[in-house]
Amino acid sequence: MSVPHDFELNRRDLMVGGSTLAAMTAVPAAVKAQPNSTGGAALSNISLTVNGQAHALELDTRTTLLDALREHLHLTGSKKGCDHGQCGACTVLIDGRRVNSCLTLAIMNEGMEITTIEGLGAPDQLHPMQAAFIKHDGYQCGYCTPGQICSGVAVLGEIKAGIPSHVTPDLMQPVTASDEEIRERMSGNICRCGAYSNIVEAMTEVAGRQG
């Protein structure tokens, strides 16, 4: 079964879908094609390491990490839901920590290891969290999903590292991956389709497997 990420395109169609872009991100020319010599706005040369790959970009200094990923590297898995840190759809991992990529400038993230949803897994090589989301139907429209999954992976790491949360009963005791802990920690990722109950199940399964 496949769905129309592979629309047959003629030239008039102009556009190609995201799934064919993996190869393109490696081609700096696609990035350089972005018009940027318009004067006025300060441009910066920025090097970003995304999913293990280094990219040299010349960007408007105002470019957020999210827009650098989506508009310049064409890694559109990270979503723009609100652009103000109010929804979590843009969540990526920076040096292993989850961050709202809409509220950080690309230029502030030089030298860091950035992992996006594309870096976690691919359709034919799913990360266990991605597979668990499919199994438990932890999504509907899919727009918040990459952010939920990046957050979900990080949350299990945070629990393992003993980082407390608002609902941790005793700050001096070890933290467990209880439903309540998962719900609180995932609350920075809004899902308007309301898949929360299923997401908790998906994460619980992965947490269990991790032991």
């Binding site: 079964m1 769905v3 129309p4 990420h5 008039r12 169609d13 102009l14 556009m15 190609v16 995201g18 799934s19 872009l21 094609a33 018009p35 940027n36 318009t38 006025g40 706005a41 105002r62 470019t63 827009d67 989506r70 508009e71 559109t76 898995g77 723009k80 839901g81 609100c82 652009d83 103000h84 929804c87 759809a89 996006t116 949803i117 594309e118 976690l120 359709p123 799913l126 991605q130 989301f133 499919i134 139907d137 999504y139 509907q140 429209c141 899919g142 727009y143 999903t145 719900r183 609180e184 609350s187 809004i190 899902c191 308007r192 389709c193 309301g194 929360y196 109950s197 299923n198 908790v200």
Partner: protein, 729 residues
């Protein structure tokens, strides 16, 4: 195919694929971020430009002048398009306010310009350089203030003699309830990418109703519909906000036309809530009269709402015509003219706010009668349209929903006396409400192709807004053609495909799969003919066509080229002769903090009677998602109106709170095992809106059971409880 007789047996009844809890076929793309949403289409060879909208900062009045010079001179700016530059525009038949305002301004944040620049950053910066001088006019923004003296919209719906029967009733209730303006708040903002090729326009967008959009884009831009192509294969949530053409499509098209380049635009979140549509606030008066034994003799439901001139009322009273028995009835809406942004459909328009009120009223009435709220509803169940007893329901199992739910939820443990159960710092309560939503059906087309590899491809402009359309359509075609689901490919959301039902009014799943069913029936006939079978007695199974002792591989039919057929399901009069509706019972347990009055939902169950469930996994997700939205509506969601300045103040996702993970407990859903032979060959109905209808009232009734405080004004925030809590000064 015309569907005008109750369905008998058909290949769907095999339920080898349909009815199974199949994983979403689009899942691997969605979980890896490789499904392409509107703003993400990309062509390395085109000179894409970025658009950014400018919105009115007054609610009503006129633009006196616009100074675009600074914006035009700003770095990277390609052009600025305003209504003046755009030339004469039409208006979509489904739009109330115009999508590009000026000089007249109809509401706050009505779009008045698009700035197009080389980069997003440049477009956004330049947008703020546009200087607008307005002449503001007085507007009306306060529904409560406009309520007085409003007459019926059209005429009231009357059965019997309500006033007399109500006056003579032994037990009466006459209460008024309010629901606030609500925002869809789907996660993907409205976004479009437009590209012109000569006179032909293609818009990659995020939209629930492709064919409607083609029409209304054409109408707005005054071009032939044949010159418009709309593509929307993935939609990051809609809930009604993307039923219609919105400003993103028109601004992108105008920007692209002005620049001769593809232009894309996404509505910024803080702009979106006043720029687009919302669910209008309501004031609802409900009167119920009953005999002492609980039988309803008189029921009236009147609903007040507001909208822009030419806008529609929020029809919050419709379910009251059908949900409960009672000889004497009155329902009607009253519409105020308000100059707030356009009110329009949001998930279960009408019923969602209507049941938020009606099902509190039923709870209150049960208490007055000294009846259990479930018993009271059972007493007043009806198997026929109460306004027209010759019209039976096609299939109605509301009572079963209530009874099964009561059993599963532990209803018998409920203490009917409120504010009596305490658990630590929490006051505990449980509540119930009935859910009801009509089953709508829509004409729906599909094209199916069988190729030499034995792959069936379905093409339809149906959309998947998270509802699972890809998956249930694949299941339908697989079932019909006797193929594993892996051998079916589904292509959606493109106006070059046959027009389908689209996603709205919970009609999508049943209607669109019925359209695919019709096309597959045709494909089966064509295949049988090509293979020399008598199509009547053919069995399609395991990739083969079988008839008696003869069998042939399906692929053989396509050995000389693809077999392509197309059909459309059309619905006859069964909805006139039979009332088709869906039913639910919603059960909720809440804890209310005894000190602070914070309400937290602890358990939820919905039992649904909605015909055949095509995929229990995706259908369940629809229902739990709707239950979640119901919790939001009950406890937190409200667009706050500034009645002086005429706008929704909390216009972002920090100010307009929707439920987060921590608000939602484990949710349980039970689907009654049933089919509705009147609804379609699929024997299915919708669940996506049913899951929302009544949930808010179940929460409200649970809060009452917990605290003894009856809140009739949603959302039930702590400020409405705190001064009346047990022990409050």
């Amino acid at each position: 195919m015309k569907f005008d007789k109750p369905e008998t047996t058909n290949p769907i009844d095999q339920l080898k694929v349909v009815g199974q809890a199949v994983d979403r076929v689009d899942g691997p793309l969605k979980v890896t971020g490789t499904a392409t949403y509107a703003y993400e289409w990309h062509d390395p060879d085109s000179r894409l430009a970025y658009g950014y909208p400018v919105g009115s900062t007054i609610a009503k009045g006129r633009i006196v002048s616009m100074d675009l010079s600074r914006a035009r001179a700003a770095p990277g700016v390609v052009t600025v398009v305003t209504a003046e530059e755009a030339g004469e525009l039409g208006k979509g038949s489904r739009n109330v306010a115009t999508l590009l305002g000026g000089p007249d301004i109809e509401h706050y944040h009505q779009a008045i310009a698009i700035v197009v620049a080389e980069s997003f950053e440049q477009a956004r910066a330049a947008a703020s350089l546009i200087q607008v001088t307005y002449q503001a006019a007085d507007g009306k923004f306060d529904l409560a203030a406009e309520r007085e003296g409003l007459g019926p919209t059209g005429s009231d719906d009357k059965v019997g003699e309500f006033e007399t029967a109500f006056a003579n009733a032994a037990v009466r209730l006459d209460e008024t309830y309010t629901t606030p303006d609500q925002s869809h708040a789907m996660m993907e903002p409205h976004a479009s990418l437009a590209s012109w090729d000569g006179d032909k326009l293609t818009i990659w967008t995020s939209n629930q109703m492709i064919a409607w959009s083609v029409e209304d884009i054409a109408k707005t831009l005054k071009i032939p519909p044949a010159d418009v192509r709309v593509v929307s294969p993935y939609i990051g949530g809609g809930f009604g906000s993307k039923l219609f053409v919105r400003s993103d499509m028109i601004l992108a098209a105008l920007g692209a036309r002005a620049t001769g380049r593809p232009v894309k635009i996404a509505l910024p979140r803080p702009f979106l809530m006043n720029n687009t549509t919302h669910r209008p606030a309501t004031i609802q008066r409900i009167r119920i009269g009953a005999e002492r034994g609980g039988k309803i003799t008189a029921i009236a439901h009147e609903g007040w709402s507001g909208n822009l001139p030419d806008g529609e009322p929020e029809n919050a009273v419709d379910q009251t015509k059908l949900l409960y028995a009672g000889a004497h009835r009155l329902t009607g809406t009253r519409l105020a003219t308000l100059d707030l942004p356009e009110g329009n459909a949001m998930r279960a328009p009408g019923e969602a706010p209507g049941l938020m009120a009606l099902e509190i009223a039923m709870d209150e009435m049960a208490e007055r009668l000294g009846l259990d709220p479930i018993d009271f509803r059972v007493i007043n169940d009806t198997q026929v349209d109460p306004g027209n007893p010759n019209r039976p329901f096609s299939h109605r199992q509301l009572v079963e929903c209530l009874r099964i739910g009561a059993e599963r939820f532990g209803w018998s443990a409920r203490n009917a006396r409120p504010a009596t159960v305490r658990e630590g710092r929490w006051l505990k309560g449980i509540g119930v409400a009935a859910g009801f939503r009509n089953n709508l059906t829509m004409k729906s087309g599909a094209r199916v192709r069988l190729d030499g590899r034995g792959v069936v491809t379905v093409e339809t402009d149906m959309t998947d807004i998270g509802t699972g359309s890809y998956t249930i359509i694949a299941q339908t075609a697989a079932e019909m053609m006797g193929l594993p689901i892996e051998r079916v490919e589904v292509r959606l959301g493109d106006s070059t495909f046959p027009a389908a039902a689209g996603s709205g009014g919970q009609w999508g799943a049943n209607s669109a799969t019925a359209g695919v069913y019709a096309a597959c029936v045709k494909l089966r006939e064509t295949v049988a003919q090509r293979l020399g079978f008598n199509s009547k007695d053919c069995v399609f199974a395991d990739g083969e066509v079988r008839s008696g002792d003869r069998r042939a591989p399906l692929t053989q039919a396509a050995s000389n080229g693809e077999v392509v057929v197309e059909d459309t399901i059309e619905f006859g009069d069964l909805r006139k002769t039979h009332q088709q509706s869906t039913f639910a019972a919603h059960f909720v347990e809440v804890g209310v903090d005894a000190a602070t009055a914070e309400t937290r939902v602890r358990r939820m169950l919905s039992v649904c009677s909605a015909g055949r469930i095509l995929n229990p996994k995706t259908a369940r997700s629809q229902v739990i998602g709707a239950m979640t939205m119901g919790v939001g509506g009950a406890l937190m969601e409200e667009l706050a109106v500034d009645t002086r300045r005429g706008f929704f103040v909390n216009h972002d996702l920090a100010g307009y709170e929707v439920p987060v993970h921590a608000d939602i407990p484990h949710q349980e859903v039970i689907f009654l095992d049933e089919v509705d032979v009147m609804s379609s060959p699929m024997k299915a109905k919708g669940v996506g809106e049913l899951g929302l209808c009544g949930v808010g009232a179940a929460v409200a009734n649970a809060v009452y059971n917990a605290t003894g405080i009856r809140v009739r004004n949603y959302p039930i925030t702590l400020d409405k409880l705190i001064t009346q809590l047990p022990g409050a000064a």
